[in-house]
Symmetry: C2
Subunit: 417 residues, 2 copies
């Protein structure tokens, strides 16, 4: 269902997963004609009274009006005694639209608040698509009545399709945790990061659970998972003005409420939530523009976790590393250069590099057992793992990226919208 | 003369410039067969007794043995009462070669010292090419006798060719300053930054002048020019393990010695030197892999020069900006996103963006007079200028880059060495 002419990523899963219904969450998607014709482009999500909400957003200094609005609303607290809603449109990002941007957010979230009898402060919104164009918010407002009448607990898969812009496949993931007195379910959908000029690399993620969990613990569980999921992926080092992750917990599970993230069920919930977040993040990388390889980069032995992250992102964002991977070239020299430019502490003569299980460089030089043919054969895999040990300390970070191919240039330079 | 199959960059100048002879500097180039066959790959440069020497080198933490050796030698001071020499080879970078790296540097620089009766501490060296392979330094040592007998003040153009690896054209620039009692001449050669796996993005620059100038002032003049030349260019954000700039002044001009960089001739010398450095830096960008556009990015109005640099480099390194330029797409939204992710202070609603003389965005939104057809027409130029004003303070930085094209992917992913 990606933009016409874009084939589905070779890294896409075989099918959309069978997501569990999260009691207390309903979805409705429709076609408002914001920009695209002949497809759904607007989604309304209602979360039941008594839910709690948490979020994470882009740190871009040029972030879109809806992101600023969501942040302001969440800063008032994550409790939603009357319930909450999320309204999402594709086709227009409502970014870099000056004061008109906030007016559009107010119009759309106000209409949802009226339709669902919610305080406007509990209506969150996301917009993704072209930037610098005023959002034709009247079209969205006109669609809200119909959406409000069509809310359906089984609508997640349809919503995952409606929020796509230039994605080549819809993205979903779920997990189940054994609580005390019943199961706790977690289900999420995401979009990103296929891009076509002038669309933005927007990543939007919505995760729902029927856990009963206070807003502060929910936010803590979410925040703790970012470093191992959405903040650990990169397609091309470019950051969107609109990235948003919203997590809502309805408390409708029969399981006992979660009162601590350290205890058995709380800890299991955190692990499961982080697993769903990581899976959705990996799906975004697997839909990276032009991607033909999914690459895990694991850095260990750094002076600190922050240094390990610098090195991992320097490798993951290096055009030379990414083109070598596209060319199935075991070019570890480019990894050495990426380590060197990262700004992290590194000692050339303690550096080791492995491709999969194969050590290619050790202690500052090519491994004596290095076998070019074996390394080249490994590079033909679709999923690759590059491990770098700096030999200095205990700092570690793993990140995920894709290769840089002619497909990326096709999508971002040759196609014109 | 680039690697077989690589056409000369469309951004190349019509011909190599007619460099003035710098009295006291001699060049000899030859074919040592380090890696390439049928071309020159080794260059010896001798600088006359009484010269001063200055340098600037990559900050990579995985830098090559020759870079570390040059830095150690220059740390002893830039005076060369007995003269100095530079020995350069292409085809092998002698990088990430463990302790063998320094042994090779010692062998090559020691042989030059013997042949030219110089202290080894005044023999500098550079190696560029494949990394992780031991340097076959015997082949270079064997060539040194012949090179020492062939030194020629008019050999700069030949040297500019011999130091090329995957460059598609040789690079040179010069300037003349009116001194008191005669002219001061400056001439430089450079290589970079065509890359083919597994070659490195090495940038090597050698600049010579017949000015009489103390070593500390020479270093100061050089260092002051980096921010506006070699540290202000980027092809693909990747940093070499081997970048080096060496500047030598022979004092053979009839002009009076330079004793201050603030006075008339000293200030003129600095301006001329910085002009030569900037011209060589621009030539490196014009030979960027796959480049079809030369792009100046001028950032003003930042809180500080450091912030302006963050923003300028964020734009210059953004794959989305670079592919939009390749596609001749006036996609200013991608520039907004690059500003936002830079980490510099920015206020969305004060941001202005111009392409050439055409303001496309002002005060956080598309300019009311924006004309898509006019903007698209501008993007068809080979040389482009993008100006970003943050509207906050006095910080400014200009950088230069090229576009990101299928040619880049061809060179770095499809070709195998």
């Amino acid at each position: 269902m990606g933009k016409a002419g874009l084939p589905v990523s070779p890294l896409a899963p075989a099918s959309f997963p069978d997501l569990p219904v999260i009691e207390g969450v309903e979805f409705a998607s429709g076609a408002a004609g914001v920009k695209y014709q002949g497809r759904t482009d607007v989604t309304l999500i209602r979360v039941a009274p008594g839910s709690t909400v948490a979020g994470a957003f882009t740190r871009s200094s040029t972030r879109a009006a809806c992101v600023l609005d969501n942040q302001a609303k969440l800063a008032q607290g994550g409790d939603a005694p009357e319930g909450a809603a999320i309204i999402i449109n594709s086709g227009n990002a409502n970014a870099f639209t000056g004061a008109r941007g906030q007016e559009s957010v107010d119009a759309v979230t106000g209409a949802v608040a009226s339709a669902l009898s919610l305080p406007a402060s509990r209506v969150f919104s996301s917009s993704t698509g072209v930037i610098g164009e005023p959002l034709p918010h009247d079209r969205i407002v006109a669609a809200i009545g119909g959406l409000a009448g069509a809310l359906d607990p089984a609508g997640a898969a349809e919503a995952a399709r409606a929020i796509m812009t230039t994605d080549t496949f819809p993205k979903g993931a779920s997990a189940t945790v054994a609580g005390e007195g019943g199961e706790i379910r977690i289900a999420g959908i995401a979009k990103g990061s296929g891009m076509i000029a002038p669309d933005m690399a927007t990543m939007l993620v919505y995760v729902f659970t029927d856990a009963a969990i206070p807003a502060d613990l929910l936010q803590q569980a979410l925040s703790g998972g970012l470093n191992g999921s959405f903040n650990a992926i990169t397609v091309d080092s470019d950051t969107s003005t609109s990235d948003a992750l919203i997590l809502a917990a309805t408390g409708r599970s029969t399981a006992a409420p979660i009162t601590s993230l350290q205890d058995g069920v709380g800890a299991a919930f955190v692990t499961a939530l982080h697993g769903v977040m990581r899976e959705l993040a990996h799906l975004v990388v697997r839909d990276g523009e032009g991607a033909t390889k999914f690459v895990e980069i694991a850095v260990t032995g750094a002076d600190s976790d922050a240094d390990a992250r610098l090195v991992a992102m320097s490798i993951a964002n290096s055009p030379l590393v990414k083109t070598a991977i596209a060319g199935e070239d075991a070019n570890w020299g480019r990894i050495v250069a990426a380590v060197g430019k990262s700004g992290a502490n590194a000692d050339r003569d303690r550096l080791s590099i492995a491709f999969g299980d194969m050590v290619v460089a050790r202690d500052g030089w090519r491994d004596p057992d290095y076998d070019e043919a074996e390394a080249s054969a490994y590079m033909k895999n679709q999923d690759l793992r590059i491990a770098v040990d700096l030999g200095l300390g205990q700092g570690a970070q793993t990140v995920w990226t894709c290769d840089l191919t002619h497909g990326y240039i096709d999508i971002n330079a040759d196609y014109r919208s």
